[in-house]
């Protein structure tokens, strides 16, 4: 089945710093989602981005489907950005649900 790899596994930042998180996937996808899991465990939708670039405030994401990767950019990080960031893709065009990468754990200190 499809493999999803995220890097780096852990990231420690000072408040105000910028960061880039990467998601590689092993097969073609026509859908990709980025989530932020907050310290209370809730998965928050960040981006639904099968291709192209989207921006939402300090966050933006780019997916290059032909090269099988997606990037999540966080600018001017804040302590509330701390948590785990997951990317997820469907297993294949006929598959069910989402397959998650192992996540990137981000810690932002003031």
């Amino acid at each position: 089945g499809i493999q999803v790899e995220q890097s780096p596994p852990d990231l420690i930042l000072q408040e105000g710093a910028n960061s880039t998180l990467r998601c590689n996937f092993s097969d073609s996808v026509n859908n990709l989602q980025w989530f932020h899991q907050n310290p209370w465990g809730q998965l928050i939708n960040l981006f639904y981005i099968p291709s192209g670039t989207k921006q939402n405030g300090r966050l933006s994401a780019t997916t290059v489907a032909t090269e099988r990767y997606s990037l999540l950019y966080i600018s001017s990080s804040q302590t509330t950005d701390s948590g785990v960031y997951f990317c997820a893709v469907p297993p294949n065009q006929a598959g069910t649900a989402l397959i998650f990468g192992k996540g990137t754990t981000l810690s932002v200190s003031s």
Binding site: Q42, N92, T96, A97, K102
Partner: protein, 114 residues
Amino acid sequence: DAMVIQNPRYQVTQFGKPVTLSCSQTLNHNVMYWYQQKSSQAPKLLFHYYDKDFNNEADTPDNFQSRRPNTSFCFLDIRSPGLGDAAMYLCATSRGTGGQTEAFFGQGTRLTVV
């Protein structure tokens, strides 16, 4: 606001005592999913419903069952919880399968087994 709601947020159950977790949605989505997430791991799909059609993942233990009495509600039943079933349980919905449409998650239920 339309959303996915899970109850309770925290559940403590005794070893071997049946427990039911609930999920409701106001998005009118066709598909409802249950995921299990253990500490420091990614969410893992247990099963899903497309309308009334139930789809079990091959490696989901028989101890886990699900019911979907109507479009809005879906339940996860753990018949005889073991210590290894302690985890966060996440419910999600989407309009269609294959991840072809965006998935939305509830707040999760954190299950403790004592």
